[in-house]
Amino acid sequence: MIPELGYAATVVALLLAVWGSAAAGVAARGGSAAVLASAERAAVGMWLLLSCCIGLLVYAFLTFDFSVRYVAFNTNRGTPFYYRITALWGALEGSIVLWAWMLGLYTLVAVGRYRRRHREFYPWVLCVLLAIAAFFLLVMSFPAPPFQRLSPVPPDGRGLNPLLEDSGMITHPVALYLGFTGFTVPFAFAMAALATGRTGDEWIVITRRWTITAWYFLSLGLLIGGWWSYHVLGWGGYWAWDPVENAAFMPWLTGTALLHSVMVQERRRMLRVWNLALIILTFSLTLFGTFLTRSGIIGSVHAFSQGSIGVFFLAFLALVLVVSLGLLAARMDRLRSAGEVDSLVSRESAFLLNNVFLVAAAFTVFFGTVFPLLSEAVTGAKVSVGAPFFNLVNLPLFLGLIFLMGIGPLIAWRRASAANLRRNFLVPVAIGVAAAAAVRALGIGQLLVVLCLGLVAFVSAAIALDFVRAARARRRAGAGWLASTAGLLRRQNRRYGGLVVHLGILVIALGVAGSQTWSVQTETTLSRGQSVQLAGYQVRFDGLSAAEESNHFRVTGAFSVSDRRAPLGVLAPAKKFYPQEQTPIAYVDYRLGLIEDLYVVLGDFARDGSSATIKVQVNRMVSWLWIGGLILTLGTVLSLLPDRRSPV
């Protein structure tokens, strides 16, 4: 019963999306208000039907309705309750449903916010959003139907991928898809701006919050993905430059570029074509990522092997690019910049350079990801470039970006005078150089760490100096320290929100540099009672125990851990054996700390429990990534607060 209901809901939702998009298009070209109202009703109906689809799938999961193929393939009777709900987005079909549902939700928010304001853009925005939703509903109807029937109905399902039974997998896809779909709204506004010819700065001002929100969720999704990789996969890393990761990282890079370049347009009326191109690029990259990872053209450790869906995404991507770039070309005459870069030493030029670096980074990631395809097409040789390529190429770009983080927010617009440079940068540069020298004097030889720490010190000092000066100025006006600080954050929330986000990125950068440089590991086989030493820790193997869980069976090791001073307790890494899997899955155990994590992975073991192979890692400064994520969250919230800037 559920497959039929779900399929009917999908098809009706698709028809509503197509109708709504067409009606909104007619309304945009001078149709009546009644036509527009009909498009709005279609949007509401579409979202309600998509909600029904989600409700039906969840119901099917909760009631173990294995007549639905998707349910049978992604759950079994032993799957715990929470994971039966999150199994909804555990594989391809369900994640498309989630994506479409979120897009429907964003469409409704856009209807609510803009139907009375911005009437010139609004019908086109609705038209574009519903057209994109129609594409996802088309995918749900044909190449990736979540409600496909399975017959005969199996007595039990195959079970969820054991690696996905983790809290990170509950939130990671949701955050990532909120990010991906979030960029659809600015894209729709950009298209509306091009379609109406109102290619000024309005679309940028209207969509500022959308862009920041989408960027934030994408950042969050990437960080949670890193956390999942770190504590589930058992290799002690958080980022592997896998095509799936790169697919989400590319729109993040171009989205970050967009966040900065729109400020230049707002302030100096420049970069209009560039900003339109960036939002088109960012939106296209969200589609491209899905195409890349779901079509199976690039081998990935977690590739999905679905056939025709790749063709659908590629065709839609081509359509999006042709239409949007065609519109852009047609409007080129209206897009003349009103301003120009006056001097190389100016904020415009710092932002421009930031954009060049970010887009270059996106390009190198793109190049490295599709390199196997290019090479096979051109030379016939099957080659690939792995993590060393991405690290090598992106390192100078990222260091350059950190440097610009210290310059961009402080240097003057138009033309920075020598006095401006001295006032803002003399002290921070001195602090940065001193920090680098101090690090060097401490005996740290790695150039990367010295450079990175020096740059981070420079940027932090620049931000701190700026803040202290501004707060002092307010204090002189009569407020106390606390009141002036709070007032500053509140009144200039956009500026200081952005700077707090920069601090978060700096903390993440330190975490990356530190963990890459200072982490150590060892692998060994221990007999019961034997211990291994690593970086001041002692890990003793005390024995194995076994237990049966609802959907798997696990062998858990007991390892007493101590450092030089005192015992630290027992770590219990395990191996999980799932009946649907032929080999076990590791379950990592760790002690997280601000400076270092102790991370223990159980490898192979003797069947009588007399010995076990373990990998012990001391991973340094990995926690800084998660702390940086929290700071980034604070900064984003601050920058999204309603504007209450004091009139200048």
């Binding site: 594989a91 450790v301 977690h302 470039v385 090598l392 692998e523 076994a546």
Partner: protein, 153 residues
């Protein structure tokens, strides 16, 4: 116009620098994908390869105290002996696909620095004959409620 020229030159320098970065990155980290047949046709020691194949049944040996893992990868036509220092990774087993990264050793084997077991998010249905051979048995052994002479796999 002079300003424009300056920006063009700056842009060209940046593009050239990024081009150089990419070029040197590729030449330093390119890895060749090969099958056992292709590798054996022209093995070059010291060059980085990714070798893909199936772990041949009966070829897997694992010496835990020495952390010495040995197996044979096959593509049905040719076979390559592989050695690796470290535990067998998750999802790695005989009769399964695996990709190993490393280099050909002069003494006639492939020294793998990294083993990637193939997996996807959809799983094979468990079969009565396959799956975890005797894991219940293992459970009993570890709990200590099986006779000490329980046959080990």
């Amino acid at each position: 116009m002079k300003r424009r020229a300056r920006f063009l030159v700056g842009g060209a320098v940046i593009v050239a620098a990024i081009g150089y970065l990419i070029y040197s990155g590729v030449s330093q980290s390119v890895v060749y994908f090969v099958t056992p047949t292709e590798l054996l046709a022209a093995p070059v020691s010291g060059k980085s390869y990714r070798l893909g194949g199936m772990v041949q049944p009966g070829s897997l040996t694992w010496d835990a105290p020495k952390l010495d893992l040995r197996f044979v990868l096959s593509d049905g036509k040719a076979t390559v002996p592989v050695r690796h220092k470290g535990s067998p990774p998750d999802l790695f087993a005989e009769k399964r696909g695996a990709v190993v990264e490393g280099a050909w050793h002069r003494d006639g084997y492939f020294q793998a620095s990294l083993i990637m077991a193939k997996h996807s998010e959809e799983y094979q249905a468990p079969h009565a004959t396959e799956g975890q051979p005797g894991y219940k048995d293992l459970l009993r052994t570890l709990r200590g409620d099986a006779p000490a002479s329980a046959p080990s796999r």
